[in-house]
Protein backbone atom coordinates (compact mmCIF):
# COMPACT_ATOMS: atom_id res chain seq x y z
CA UNK A 1 0.00 0.00 0.00
CA UNK A 2 2.77 2.47 0.94
CA UNK A 3 4.52 1.75 -2.35
CA UNK A 4 1.35 2.44 -4.25
CA UNK A 5 0.87 5.75 -2.46
CA UNK A 6 4.44 6.80 -3.17
CA UNK A 7 4.07 5.84 -6.80
CA UNK A 8 0.88 7.82 -7.13
CA UNK A 9 2.49 10.81 -5.45
CA UNK A 10 5.31 10.68 -7.98
CA UNK A 11 2.79 10.60 -10.79
CA UNK A 12 1.05 13.59 -9.25
CA UNK A 13 4.23 15.64 -9.47
CA UNK A 14 4.82 14.62 -13.10
CA UNK A 15 1.19 15.42 -13.94
CA UNK A 16 1.52 18.88 -12.42
CA UNK A 17 4.65 19.51 -14.42
CA UNK A 18 2.84 18.51 -17.62
CA UNK A 19 -0.08 20.73 -16.65
CA UNK A 20 2.23 23.69 -16.13
CA UNK A 21 3.71 23.23 -19.61
CA UNK A 22 0.26 22.88 -21.15
CA UNK A 23 -1.20 25.97 -19.56
CA UNK A 24 1.89 28.01 -20.35
CA UNK A 25 1.78 26.98 -24.01
CA UNK A 26 -1.97 27.43 -24.35
CA UNK A 27 -1.88 30.95 -22.96
CA UNK A 28 0.87 32.03 -25.37
CA UNK A 29 -1.63 31.56 -28.20
CA UNK A 30 -3.61 34.56 -26.98
CA UNK A 31 -3.37 37.65 -29.16
CA UNK A 32 -2.25 40.83 -27.44
CA UNK A 33 -0.32 41.04 -24.19
CA UNK A 34 -0.32 42.78 -20.87
CA UNK A 35 1.89 45.60 -22.15
CA UNK A 36 -0.92 46.58 -24.53
CA UNK A 37 -3.32 46.64 -21.61
CA UNK A 38 -1.01 48.75 -19.45
CA UNK A 39 -0.33 51.18 -22.27
CA UNK A 40 -3.93 51.46 -23.36
CA UNK A 41 -4.74 53.72 -26.24
CA UNK A 42 -2.93 56.92 -25.33
CA UNK A 43 0.59 55.57 -25.22
CA UNK A 44 2.91 55.71 -28.20
CA UNK A 45 4.27 52.53 -29.83
CA UNK A 46 7.70 53.29 -28.35
CA UNK A 47 6.16 53.39 -24.90
CA UNK A 48 4.51 50.02 -25.44
CA UNK A 49 7.91 48.53 -26.28
CA UNK A 50 9.43 50.09 -23.16
CA UNK A 51 6.64 48.78 -20.96
CA UNK A 52 6.95 45.33 -22.52
CA UNK A 53 10.66 45.36 -21.73
CA UNK A 54 10.13 46.68 -18.22
CA UNK A 55 7.81 43.85 -17.25
CA UNK A 56 9.90 41.26 -19.04
CA UNK A 57 7.25 40.28 -21.56
CA UNK A 58 9.81 40.52 -24.37
CA UNK A 59 11.99 37.70 -23.06
CA UNK A 60 12.14 34.35 -24.81
CA UNK A 61 9.42 31.87 -23.96
CA UNK A 62 11.74 29.31 -22.32
CA UNK A 63 13.21 32.07 -20.16
CA UNK A 64 9.73 33.15 -19.08
CA UNK A 65 8.69 29.58 -18.35
CA UNK A 66 11.82 28.75 -16.38
CA UNK A 67 11.53 31.97 -14.42
CA UNK A 68 7.95 31.18 -13.51
CA UNK A 69 8.59 27.52 -12.71
CA UNK A 70 11.66 28.39 -10.66
CA UNK A 71 9.47 30.62 -8.53
CA UNK A 72 6.68 28.05 -8.23
CA UNK A 73 9.13 25.40 -7.02
CA UNK A 74 10.15 27.69 -4.18
CA UNK A 75 6.53 28.47 -3.40
CA UNK A 76 6.51 31.86 -5.13
CA UNK A 77 3.86 32.19 -7.82
CA UNK A 78 5.25 35.52 -9.00
CA UNK A 79 3.59 38.91 -9.19
CA UNK A 80 0.82 40.28 -11.35
CA UNK A 81 2.26 42.23 -14.24
CA UNK A 82 -0.63 44.64 -14.00
CA UNK A 83 -0.96 45.48 -10.36
CA UNK A 84 2.33 44.18 -8.97
CA UNK A 85 0.44 42.20 -6.33
CA UNK A 86 1.75 38.84 -5.17
CA UNK A 87 -0.09 36.04 -6.97
CA UNK A 88 0.15 33.74 -3.95
CA UNK A 89 -1.51 36.33 -1.72
CA UNK A 90 -4.24 36.93 -4.30
CA UNK A 91 -4.87 33.22 -4.68
CA UNK A 92 -5.19 32.64 -0.97
CA UNK A 93 -7.56 35.59 -0.68
CA UNK A 94 -9.77 34.26 -3.48
CA UNK A 95 -9.66 30.75 -2.08
CA UNK A 96 -11.22 32.03 1.11
CA UNK A 97 -14.33 32.64 -0.99
CA UNK A 98 -14.20 29.85 -3.53
CA UNK A 99 -13.10 26.97 -1.30
CA UNK A 100 -15.99 27.36 1.17
CA UNK A 101 -18.33 27.86 -1.77
CA UNK A 102 -17.30 24.70 -3.59
CA UNK A 103 -16.86 22.71 -0.38
CA UNK A 104 -20.19 23.84 1.02
CA UNK A 105 -21.96 23.10 -2.25
CA UNK A 106 -20.47 19.60 -2.39
CA UNK A 107 -21.48 18.82 1.19
CA UNK A 108 -24.94 20.20 0.60
CA UNK A 109 -25.28 18.17 -2.59
CA UNK A 110 -24.17 15.01 -0.79
CA UNK A 111 -26.50 15.67 2.12
CA UNK A 112 -29.41 15.91 -0.29
CA UNK A 113 -28.43 13.42 -2.95
CA UNK A 114 -27.38 10.43 -0.85
CA UNK A 115 -30.55 9.95 1.22
CA UNK A 116 -32.83 10.92 -1.65
CA UNK A 117 -30.92 8.75 -4.11
CA UNK A 118 -31.22 5.71 -1.83
CA UNK A 119 -34.88 6.49 -1.32
CA UNK A 120 -35.41 6.83 -5.05
CA UNK A 121 -33.79 3.45 -5.57
CA UNK A 122 -35.65 1.75 -2.76
CA UNK A 123 -38.95 3.05 -4.09
CA UNK A 124 -38.07 3.07 -7.73
CA UNK A 125 -41.37 1.52 -8.74
CA UNK A 126 -43.50 3.75 -6.58
CA UNK A 127 -44.72 7.26 -7.31
CA UNK A 128 -42.37 8.86 -4.79
CA UNK A 129 -39.34 7.22 -6.37
CA UNK A 130 -40.40 8.23 -9.86
CA UNK A 131 -41.05 11.78 -8.66
CA UNK A 132 -37.54 11.96 -7.17
CA UNK A 133 -36.04 10.76 -10.42
CA UNK A 134 -38.05 13.28 -12.38
CA UNK A 135 -36.90 16.01 -10.01
CA UNK A 136 -33.28 15.11 -10.57
CA UNK A 137 -33.87 15.11 -14.32
CA UNK A 138 -35.23 18.62 -14.05
CA UNK A 139 -32.31 19.73 -11.89
CA UNK A 140 -29.98 18.47 -14.59
CA UNK A 141 -31.77 20.39 -17.32
CA UNK A 142 -31.92 23.90 -15.85
CA UNK A 143 -28.97 26.23 -16.50
CA UNK A 144 -27.15 27.06 -13.27
CA UNK A 145 -27.17 30.83 -13.78
CA UNK A 146 -30.91 30.59 -14.18
CA UNK A 147 -31.32 28.93 -10.80
CA UNK A 148 -29.08 31.59 -9.26
CA UNK A 149 -31.11 34.42 -10.74
CA UNK A 150 -34.32 32.88 -9.45
CA UNK A 151 -32.93 32.44 -5.95
CA UNK A 152 -31.77 36.06 -5.88
CA UNK A 153 -35.14 37.30 -7.04
CA UNK A 154 -37.04 35.36 -4.42
CA UNK A 155 -34.78 35.26 -1.36
CA UNK A 156 -32.85 38.51 -1.72
CA UNK A 157 -34.99 40.98 -3.65
CA UNK A 158 -38.51 39.94 -2.69
CA UNK A 159 -38.07 38.51 0.78
CA UNK A 160 -34.84 40.27 1.82
CA UNK A 161 -33.70 37.17 3.71
CA UNK A 162 -30.19 36.96 2.33
CA UNK A 163 -27.82 39.29 0.47
CA UNK A 164 -28.32 39.51 -3.30
CA UNK A 165 -24.64 39.13 -3.92
CA UNK A 166 -21.16 40.22 -2.96
CA UNK A 167 -18.94 39.24 -0.08
CA UNK A 168 -18.15 41.35 3.00
CA UNK A 169 -15.26 43.70 2.25
CA UNK A 170 -13.55 42.62 5.46
CA UNK A 171 -13.78 38.95 4.49
CA UNK A 172 -14.40 36.47 7.28
CA UNK A 173 -13.97 39.07 10.05
CA UNK A 174 -17.69 38.66 10.60
CA UNK A 175 -18.20 34.93 10.00
CA UNK A 176 -21.98 35.14 10.05
CA UNK A 177 -22.11 37.85 7.40
CA UNK A 178 -19.60 35.97 5.27
CA UNK A 179 -21.46 32.70 5.59
CA UNK A 180 -24.78 34.37 4.82
CA UNK A 181 -23.40 35.75 1.58
CA UNK A 182 -22.38 32.24 0.52
CA UNK A 183 -25.72 30.54 1.19
CA UNK A 184 -27.49 31.29 -2.08
CA UNK A 185 -24.39 30.73 -4.25
CA UNK A 186 -23.71 27.39 -2.57
CA UNK A 187 -27.32 26.31 -3.00
CA UNK A 188 -27.19 27.24 -6.68
CA UNK A 189 -24.06 25.21 -7.23
CA UNK A 190 -25.43 22.37 -5.14
CA UNK A 191 -28.68 21.99 -7.09
CA UNK A 192 -26.94 20.89 -10.28
CA UNK A 193 -24.41 18.85 -8.34
CA UNK A 194 -27.12 17.11 -6.33
CA UNK A 195 -29.07 16.24 -9.47
CA UNK A 196 -26.01 14.52 -10.94
CA UNK A 197 -25.17 12.75 -7.70
CA UNK A 198 -28.73 11.64 -7.05
CA UNK A 199 -28.78 9.75 -10.32
CA UNK A 200 -25.52 8.02 -9.52
CA UNK A 201 -26.55 7.14 -5.98
CA UNK A 202 -29.83 5.80 -7.27
CA UNK A 203 -28.31 3.59 -9.94
CA UNK A 204 -25.51 2.42 -7.65
CA UNK A 205 -28.06 1.49 -4.98
CA UNK A 206 -30.27 -0.26 -7.53
CA UNK A 207 -27.29 -2.25 -8.68
CA UNK A 208 -26.50 -3.27 -5.11
CA UNK A 209 -30.12 -4.09 -4.30
CA UNK A 210 -30.01 -6.75 -6.96
CA UNK A 211 -26.63 -8.11 -5.97
CA UNK A 212 -26.38 -11.67 -4.75
CA UNK A 213 -25.14 -10.77 -1.29
CA UNK A 214 -28.25 -8.71 -0.58
CA UNK A 215 -30.46 -11.56 -1.66
CA UNK A 216 -28.49 -13.84 0.61
CA UNK A 217 -28.91 -11.44 3.47
CA UNK A 218 -32.60 -11.19 2.81
CA UNK A 219 -32.82 -14.94 2.68
CA UNK A 220 -31.33 -14.90 6.16
CA UNK A 221 -34.37 -12.91 7.26
CA UNK A 222 -33.16 -9.31 7.12
CA UNK A 223 -35.56 -6.74 5.76
CA UNK A 224 -34.59 -4.92 2.58
CA UNK A 225 -33.61 -1.82 4.58
CA UNK A 226 -31.52 -3.77 7.07
CA UNK A 227 -29.76 -5.66 4.31
CA UNK A 228 -29.01 -2.42 2.52
CA UNK A 229 -27.68 -0.73 5.65
CA UNK A 230 -25.52 -3.68 6.70
CA UNK A 231 -24.06 -4.74 3.41
CA UNK A 232 -25.12 -2.51 0.61
CA UNK A 233 -24.14 1.07 1.34
CA UNK A 234 -20.44 0.48 1.37
CA UNK A 235 -20.66 -1.07 -2.06
CA UNK A 236 -22.94 1.64 -3.34
CA UNK A 237 -20.49 4.26 -2.10
CA UNK A 238 -17.78 3.12 -4.51
CA UNK A 239 -19.11 4.54 -7.77
CA UNK A 240 -20.42 7.62 -5.97
CA UNK A 241 -17.00 8.44 -4.59
CA UNK A 242 -15.52 7.96 -8.06
CA UNK A 243 -17.99 10.29 -9.69
CA UNK A 244 -17.33 12.87 -7.00
CA UNK A 245 -13.75 13.04 -8.18
CA UNK A 246 -14.75 13.54 -11.80
CA UNK A 247 -17.44 16.07 -10.92
CA UNK A 248 -15.00 18.13 -8.93
CA UNK A 249 -13.27 19.09 -12.17
CA UNK A 250 -16.46 20.50 -13.66
CA UNK A 251 -17.12 22.58 -10.56
CA UNK A 252 -14.81 25.34 -11.72
CA UNK A 253 -16.99 26.36 -14.65
CA UNK A 254 -19.90 26.23 -12.23
CA UNK A 255 -18.00 28.39 -9.76
CA UNK A 256 -17.21 30.98 -12.45
CA UNK A 257 -20.89 31.22 -13.35
CA UNK A 258 -22.08 31.39 -9.77
CA UNK A 259 -19.43 33.94 -8.81
CA UNK A 260 -20.55 36.04 -11.74
CA UNK A 261 -24.23 35.83 -10.91
CA UNK A 262 -23.62 36.63 -7.24
CA UNK A 263 -20.76 39.11 -7.76
CA UNK A 264 -18.47 37.08 -5.51
CA UNK A 265 -14.78 37.95 -5.56
CA UNK A 266 -13.59 34.36 -6.03
CA UNK A 267 -11.11 32.36 -8.02
CA UNK A 268 -13.35 31.84 -11.04
CA UNK A 269 -14.20 35.49 -11.46
CA UNK A 270 -10.54 36.39 -11.12
CA UNK A 271 -9.55 33.85 -13.76
CA UNK A 272 -11.90 35.33 -16.35
CA UNK A 273 -10.78 38.88 -15.57
CA UNK A 274 -7.10 37.91 -15.72
CA UNK A 275 -7.40 36.21 -19.08
CA UNK A 276 -9.19 39.30 -20.36
CA UNK A 277 -6.33 41.47 -19.10
CA UNK A 278 -3.63 39.04 -20.28
CA UNK A 279 -2.23 38.87 -16.76
CA UNK A 280 -0.75 35.52 -17.69
CA UNK A 281 1.41 34.87 -14.65
CA UNK A 282 -1.72 35.04 -12.53
CA UNK A 283 -3.71 32.83 -14.90
CA UNK A 284 -0.92 30.25 -14.85
CA UNK A 285 -0.89 30.24 -11.08
CA UNK A 286 -4.65 29.89 -10.85
CA UNK A 287 -4.89 27.08 -13.38
CA UNK A 288 -2.00 25.23 -11.80
CA UNK A 289 -3.69 25.51 -8.42
CA UNK A 290 -7.01 24.25 -9.75
CA UNK A 291 -5.34 21.40 -11.62
CA UNK A 292 -3.43 20.46 -8.50
CA UNK A 293 -6.64 20.50 -6.48
CA UNK A 294 -8.41 18.26 -8.97
CA UNK A 295 -5.49 15.84 -9.15
CA UNK A 296 -5.15 15.73 -5.39
CA UNK A 297 -8.88 15.08 -5.03
CA UNK A 298 -8.55 12.36 -7.65
CA UNK A 299 -5.68 10.91 -5.66
CA UNK A 300 -7.80 11.02 -2.51
CA UNK A 301 -10.74 9.40 -4.27
CA UNK A 302 -8.49 6.66 -5.56
CA UNK A 303 -7.23 6.07 -2.04
CA UNK A 304 -10.75 6.08 -0.62
CA UNK A 305 -11.81 3.55 -3.23
CA UNK A 306 -8.98 1.25 -2.29
CA UNK A 307 -9.94 1.48 1.37
CA UNK A 308 -13.60 0.84 0.59
CA UNK A 309 -12.93 -2.04 -1.74
CA UNK A 310 -10.51 -4.65 -0.42
CA UNK A 311 -10.21 -6.16 -3.90
CA UNK A 312 -8.54 -3.00 -5.15
CA UNK A 313 -6.05 -2.76 -2.34
CA UNK A 314 -3.39 -4.83 -3.97
CA UNK A 315 -4.04 -3.59 -7.47
CA UNK A 316 -1.75 -1.09 -9.07
Amino acid sequence: MAVIILRRLGLLVVSLFVASLLVFALLRLLPGDVADVLAGTSASPDQVLRIRHEIGADRSLPAQYLDWMGGVLTGDFGVSALSGASVSAELSEKLRVTAPLVGGATLLALAVAVPLGILAAARHRRASGVALSALSQLGLAVPAFWIGLMLITVFAVDWRLLPAGGFPTDGWADPVAAARSLVLPAVTLAVVEAAVLLRFVRSATLEVLNADFIRTARAKGLTRGQALRRHGLRNAALPVVSILGVEFATLLLGAVIVENVFALPGLGQMLVADIGNRDLVKVQGTVLLVTAAVLVVGFGVDLANRLLDPRLRSAR
Binding site: L11, V14, S15, V18, A19, L22, V23, L26, L27, L29, L30, P31, Q137, L138, L140, A141, V142, P143, A144, F145, W146, L149, M150, T153, V157, N210, V246, A249, T250, L252, L253, V256, I257, N260, L271, V272, I275, V283, V287, V290, T291, A293, V294, L295, G298
Partner: protein, 293 residues
Protein backbone atom coordinates in the same frame (compact mmCIF):
# COMPACT_ATOMS: atom_id res chain seq x y z
CA UNK B 1 -26.07 -3.56 -37.92
CA UNK B 2 -29.18 -1.80 -39.20
CA UNK B 3 -31.18 -4.51 -37.58
CA UNK B 4 -29.63 -3.86 -34.21
CA UNK B 5 -30.21 -0.11 -34.62
CA UNK B 6 -33.84 -0.82 -35.36
CA UNK B 7 -34.07 -3.05 -32.32
CA UNK B 8 -32.46 -0.34 -30.23
CA UNK B 9 -34.93 2.24 -31.50
CA UNK B 10 -37.78 -0.10 -30.71
CA UNK B 11 -36.34 -0.57 -27.24
CA UNK B 12 -36.03 3.17 -26.68
CA UNK B 13 -39.60 3.71 -27.82
CA UNK B 14 -40.69 0.94 -25.52
CA UNK B 15 -39.46 2.68 -22.37
CA UNK B 16 -41.45 5.52 -20.92
CA UNK B 17 -38.51 7.93 -20.54
CA UNK B 18 -37.17 6.94 -23.94
CA UNK B 19 -40.46 7.76 -25.60
CA UNK B 20 -40.76 11.15 -23.88
CA UNK B 21 -37.13 11.89 -24.69
CA UNK B 22 -37.64 10.99 -28.33
CA UNK B 23 -40.70 13.23 -28.58
CA UNK B 24 -38.95 16.23 -26.98
CA UNK B 25 -35.80 15.78 -29.06
CA UNK B 26 -37.97 15.36 -32.14
CA UNK B 27 -39.63 18.70 -31.42
CA UNK B 28 -36.25 20.42 -31.45
CA UNK B 29 -35.37 18.80 -34.75
CA UNK B 30 -38.71 19.85 -36.23
CA UNK B 31 -38.26 23.43 -34.98
CA UNK B 32 -34.79 23.55 -36.47
CA UNK B 33 -36.03 22.13 -39.77
CA UNK B 34 -38.91 24.61 -39.93
CA UNK B 35 -36.55 27.50 -39.28
CA UNK B 36 -34.63 26.55 -42.41
CA UNK B 37 -37.62 27.34 -44.63
CA UNK B 38 -39.73 29.72 -42.59
CA UNK B 39 -39.61 32.15 -39.68
CA UNK B 40 -42.21 34.87 -39.09
CA UNK B 41 -39.47 37.52 -39.06
CA UNK B 42 -35.77 37.76 -39.72
CA UNK B 43 -34.64 36.93 -36.18
CA UNK B 44 -31.74 39.40 -36.28
CA UNK B 45 -33.71 42.29 -37.75
CA UNK B 46 -33.80 45.24 -35.38
CA UNK B 47 -37.04 47.19 -35.26
CA UNK B 48 -37.05 50.07 -32.76
CA UNK B 49 -40.83 50.39 -33.14
CA UNK B 50 -41.34 46.83 -31.89
CA UNK B 51 -39.11 47.23 -28.81
CA UNK B 52 -40.54 44.99 -26.07
CA UNK B 53 -43.58 44.19 -28.18
CA UNK B 54 -45.96 42.07 -26.07
CA UNK B 55 -47.02 38.51 -26.73
CA UNK B 56 -49.72 38.64 -29.39
CA UNK B 57 -50.63 37.93 -32.96
CA UNK B 58 -47.86 40.14 -34.33
CA UNK B 59 -45.15 38.58 -32.15
CA UNK B 60 -46.18 35.21 -30.77
CA UNK B 61 -43.51 35.22 -28.06
CA UNK B 62 -43.14 39.02 -27.97
CA UNK B 63 -40.01 40.93 -28.95
CA UNK B 64 -36.77 41.89 -27.17
CA UNK B 65 -35.43 45.34 -26.49
CA UNK B 66 -34.11 45.77 -30.00
CA UNK B 67 -37.53 44.75 -31.32
CA UNK B 68 -36.34 41.38 -32.62
CA UNK B 69 -39.06 38.73 -32.77
CA UNK B 70 -38.55 36.19 -30.01
CA UNK B 71 -40.45 33.36 -31.69
CA UNK B 72 -38.16 33.61 -34.69
CA UNK B 73 -35.17 33.73 -32.37
CA UNK B 74 -36.27 30.62 -30.52
CA UNK B 75 -36.96 28.81 -33.79
CA UNK B 76 -33.57 29.64 -35.31
CA UNK B 77 -32.00 29.09 -31.91
CA UNK B 78 -33.12 25.45 -32.13
CA UNK B 79 -30.95 25.12 -35.22
CA UNK B 80 -27.96 26.70 -33.51
CA UNK B 81 -28.45 24.64 -30.40
CA UNK B 82 -28.85 21.44 -32.35
CA UNK B 83 -25.78 22.23 -34.44
CA UNK B 84 -23.72 23.00 -31.34
CA UNK B 85 -24.95 19.89 -29.54
CA UNK B 86 -24.46 17.49 -32.45
CA UNK B 87 -21.12 18.90 -33.58
CA UNK B 88 -19.73 19.06 -30.05
CA UNK B 89 -20.93 15.53 -29.36
CA UNK B 90 -19.35 14.26 -32.57
CA UNK B 91 -16.06 15.85 -31.58
CA UNK B 92 -16.42 14.38 -28.10
CA UNK B 93 -17.00 10.92 -29.59
CA UNK B 94 -13.87 11.05 -31.73
CA UNK B 95 -11.72 12.57 -28.99
CA UNK B 96 -13.13 10.33 -26.27
CA UNK B 97 -12.93 7.01 -28.07
CA UNK B 98 -9.57 7.96 -29.56
CA UNK B 99 -8.12 8.77 -26.15
CA UNK B 100 -9.59 5.61 -24.66
CA UNK B 101 -7.95 3.49 -27.36
CA UNK B 102 -4.66 5.36 -27.07
CA UNK B 103 -4.70 4.81 -23.34
CA UNK B 104 -5.09 1.06 -23.69
CA UNK B 105 -3.75 -0.28 -26.98
CA UNK B 106 -0.15 0.98 -27.34
CA UNK B 107 2.75 -0.44 -25.33
CA UNK B 108 2.29 0.05 -21.62
CA UNK B 109 4.51 3.08 -21.17
CA UNK B 110 2.78 5.09 -23.91
CA UNK B 111 -0.68 3.95 -22.88
CA UNK B 112 -0.12 4.88 -19.25
CA UNK B 113 1.27 8.22 -20.31
CA UNK B 114 -1.88 8.92 -22.28
CA UNK B 115 -4.04 7.76 -19.40
CA UNK B 116 -2.36 10.16 -17.03
CA UNK B 117 -2.49 12.94 -19.60
CA UNK B 118 -6.23 12.44 -19.74
CA UNK B 119 -6.38 12.83 -15.97
CA UNK B 120 -4.43 16.07 -16.21
CA UNK B 121 -6.55 17.37 -19.07
CA UNK B 122 -9.68 16.53 -17.13
CA UNK B 123 -8.59 19.04 -14.53
CA UNK B 124 -8.22 21.72 -17.21
CA UNK B 125 -11.16 24.09 -17.24
CA UNK B 126 -13.26 23.91 -20.44
CA UNK B 127 -13.79 27.61 -19.92
CA UNK B 128 -10.08 28.30 -20.37
CA UNK B 129 -10.08 26.49 -23.70
CA UNK B 130 -13.23 28.31 -24.79
CA UNK B 131 -11.73 31.68 -23.88
CA UNK B 132 -8.43 31.02 -25.63
CA UNK B 133 -10.13 29.71 -28.76
CA UNK B 134 -12.54 32.64 -28.80
CA UNK B 135 -9.62 35.05 -28.49
CA UNK B 136 -7.62 33.41 -31.26
CA UNK B 137 -10.46 32.69 -33.69
CA UNK B 138 -12.96 35.28 -32.45
CA UNK B 139 -16.34 35.53 -34.11
CA UNK B 140 -16.66 31.90 -35.11
CA UNK B 141 -19.39 29.63 -33.81
CA UNK B 142 -16.85 26.82 -33.91
CA UNK B 143 -14.80 28.05 -30.96
CA UNK B 144 -17.46 27.13 -28.42
CA UNK B 145 -18.25 23.87 -30.22
CA UNK B 146 -14.63 22.74 -30.23
CA UNK B 147 -14.11 23.73 -26.60
CA UNK B 148 -17.25 21.92 -25.46
CA UNK B 149 -16.50 18.88 -27.64
CA UNK B 150 -12.90 18.53 -26.55
CA UNK B 151 -13.80 19.10 -22.90
CA UNK B 152 -16.56 16.50 -22.97
CA UNK B 153 -14.40 14.16 -25.06
CA UNK B 154 -11.73 14.08 -22.38
CA UNK B 155 -14.33 13.10 -19.81
CA UNK B 156 -15.68 10.47 -22.19
CA UNK B 157 -12.16 9.14 -22.74
CA UNK B 158 -11.76 8.62 -19.06
CA UNK B 159 -15.06 6.78 -18.68
CA UNK B 160 -14.53 4.66 -21.80
CA UNK B 161 -10.97 3.72 -20.92
CA UNK B 162 -12.06 1.20 -18.31
CA UNK B 163 -14.63 -0.23 -20.67
CA UNK B 164 -12.02 -0.77 -23.41
CA UNK B 165 -9.70 -2.36 -20.91
CA UNK B 166 -12.45 -4.74 -19.83
CA UNK B 167 -13.16 -5.79 -23.43
CA UNK B 168 -9.47 -6.24 -24.18
CA UNK B 169 -9.16 -8.59 -21.24
CA UNK B 170 -12.15 -10.69 -22.25
CA UNK B 171 -11.65 -14.29 -23.29
CA UNK B 172 -12.95 -13.84 -26.83
CA UNK B 173 -10.43 -11.06 -27.51
CA UNK B 174 -7.60 -13.14 -26.12
CA UNK B 175 -8.80 -15.97 -28.32
CA UNK B 176 -8.98 -13.72 -31.38
CA UNK B 177 -5.49 -12.45 -30.67
CA UNK B 178 -4.21 -15.98 -30.32
CA UNK B 179 -5.82 -16.73 -33.68
CA UNK B 180 -3.63 -13.99 -35.17
CA UNK B 181 -6.10 -11.09 -35.42
CA UNK B 182 -4.39 -7.68 -35.73
CA UNK B 183 -5.08 -4.72 -33.48
CA UNK B 184 -7.15 -2.98 -36.13
CA UNK B 185 -9.35 -6.00 -36.56
CA UNK B 186 -9.80 -6.45 -32.83
CA UNK B 187 -10.78 -2.82 -32.44
CA UNK B 188 -13.26 -3.02 -35.31
CA UNK B 189 -14.75 -6.42 -34.57
CA UNK B 190 -14.67 -6.54 -30.78
CA UNK B 191 -13.80 -3.32 -28.99
CA UNK B 192 -16.03 -0.83 -30.80
CA UNK B 193 -19.19 -2.97 -30.87
CA UNK B 194 -18.78 -3.85 -27.21
CA UNK B 195 -18.16 -0.36 -25.89
CA UNK B 196 -20.89 1.07 -28.11
CA UNK B 197 -23.74 0.84 -25.57
CA UNK B 198 -21.76 2.73 -22.93
CA UNK B 199 -20.57 5.28 -25.46
CA UNK B 200 -24.04 5.89 -26.84
CA UNK B 201 -25.45 6.54 -23.39
CA UNK B 202 -22.58 8.88 -22.57
CA UNK B 203 -22.99 10.71 -25.85
CA UNK B 204 -26.67 11.29 -25.23
CA UNK B 205 -25.74 12.85 -21.90
CA UNK B 206 -23.06 14.94 -23.60
CA UNK B 207 -25.72 16.12 -26.06
CA UNK B 208 -27.68 17.63 -23.18
CA UNK B 209 -24.57 18.81 -21.38
CA UNK B 210 -23.33 20.73 -24.42
CA UNK B 211 -26.61 22.64 -24.63
CA UNK B 212 -26.13 23.71 -21.02
CA UNK B 213 -22.44 24.47 -21.47
CA UNK B 214 -23.20 26.61 -24.51
CA UNK B 215 -25.72 28.53 -22.42
CA UNK B 216 -23.19 28.94 -19.63
CA UNK B 217 -20.46 30.10 -22.00
CA UNK B 218 -22.90 32.49 -23.66
CA UNK B 219 -23.77 33.90 -20.26
CA UNK B 220 -20.07 34.66 -19.76
CA UNK B 221 -19.77 35.99 -23.32
CA UNK B 222 -17.77 33.14 -24.83
CA UNK B 223 -20.52 31.13 -26.47
CA UNK B 224 -22.04 31.47 -29.91
CA UNK B 225 -21.03 34.90 -31.18
CA UNK B 226 -23.59 37.47 -32.32
CA UNK B 227 -25.56 37.94 -34.43
CA UNK B 228 -26.35 34.18 -34.68
CA UNK B 229 -29.35 33.60 -32.40
CA UNK B 230 -28.76 30.93 -29.78
CA UNK B 231 -30.90 30.15 -26.77
CA UNK B 232 -27.99 30.66 -24.46
CA UNK B 233 -27.21 34.07 -25.88
CA UNK B 234 -30.85 35.15 -25.92
CA UNK B 235 -31.16 34.10 -22.27
CA UNK B 236 -27.95 35.87 -21.33
CA UNK B 237 -29.06 39.07 -23.07
CA UNK B 238 -32.48 39.03 -21.45
CA UNK B 239 -31.38 38.10 -17.93
CA UNK B 240 -31.26 41.66 -16.55
CA UNK B 241 -35.01 41.85 -17.20
CA UNK B 242 -35.88 38.76 -15.19
CA UNK B 243 -38.17 40.59 -12.80
CA UNK B 244 -39.27 43.18 -15.30
CA UNK B 245 -40.24 41.04 -18.27
CA UNK B 246 -40.22 37.47 -17.04
CA UNK B 247 -42.27 36.28 -20.00
CA UNK B 248 -39.55 37.09 -22.53
CA UNK B 249 -37.16 34.84 -20.63
CA UNK B 250 -39.66 32.03 -20.35
CA UNK B 251 -39.44 30.93 -24.00
CA UNK B 252 -35.71 30.49 -24.49
CA UNK B 253 -35.45 29.13 -20.93
CA UNK B 254 -38.19 26.59 -21.54
CA UNK B 255 -36.56 25.63 -24.82
CA UNK B 256 -33.25 24.90 -23.08
CA UNK B 257 -34.85 22.93 -20.24
CA UNK B 258 -37.07 20.81 -22.50
CA UNK B 259 -34.25 20.09 -24.93
CA UNK B 260 -31.80 19.02 -22.25
CA UNK B 261 -34.55 17.00 -20.61
CA UNK B 262 -35.31 15.39 -23.96
CA UNK B 263 -31.71 14.45 -24.64
CA UNK B 264 -31.22 13.08 -21.12
CA UNK B 265 -34.40 11.02 -21.21
CA UNK B 266 -33.39 9.69 -24.60
CA UNK B 267 -30.14 8.64 -22.94
CA UNK B 268 -32.07 6.85 -20.22
CA UNK B 269 -34.13 5.09 -22.85
CA UNK B 270 -30.98 4.07 -24.67
CA UNK B 271 -29.49 2.74 -21.48
CA UNK B 272 -32.54 0.66 -20.70
CA UNK B 273 -32.83 -0.60 -24.26
CA UNK B 274 -29.15 -1.27 -24.68
CA UNK B 275 -28.45 -2.94 -21.36
CA UNK B 276 -29.85 -6.46 -21.45
CA UNK B 277 -28.88 -6.97 -17.83
CA UNK B 278 -31.22 -4.19 -16.82
CA UNK B 279 -34.07 -5.78 -18.71
CA UNK B 280 -33.38 -9.18 -17.27
CA UNK B 281 -33.27 -7.69 -13.85
CA UNK B 282 -36.55 -5.94 -14.38
CA UNK B 283 -38.07 -9.28 -15.33
CA UNK B 284 -36.54 -10.92 -12.27
CA UNK B 285 -37.75 -8.19 -10.01
CA UNK B 286 -41.29 -8.39 -11.21
CA UNK B 287 -41.12 -12.12 -10.82
CA UNK B 288 -39.82 -11.66 -7.31
CA UNK B 289 -42.62 -9.29 -6.49
CA UNK B 290 -45.18 -11.58 -7.97
CA UNK B 291 -43.85 -14.25 -5.63
CA UNK B 292 -44.21 -12.00 -2.63
CA UNK B 293 -47.85 -11.23 -3.15
Amino acid sequence: MTGSVRALARGVWGSRSGRLGAVLSGLVVVAAAVSLVWTPYDPTRVDPAASWAPVGTAHWFGADRLGRDLFSQVLVGARTTLAVAVAATAIAAVVGVGLALLATLPPRLVAEGVAHLVDVLLAFPVLLLAMVLAAVYGGSRWTAIVAIGVGAGIGLGRVTRGEVRRVLGADYVLAARAAGAGTGRIVRRHVLPNIAPTVWVQLSLILGLSVLTEAALSYLGFGTPPPTPSWGRTLAELQPYLTLRPLTLLWPGLAVVLTVLGFNLLGDGLREAGDPRLRERAVERSAERAGQT
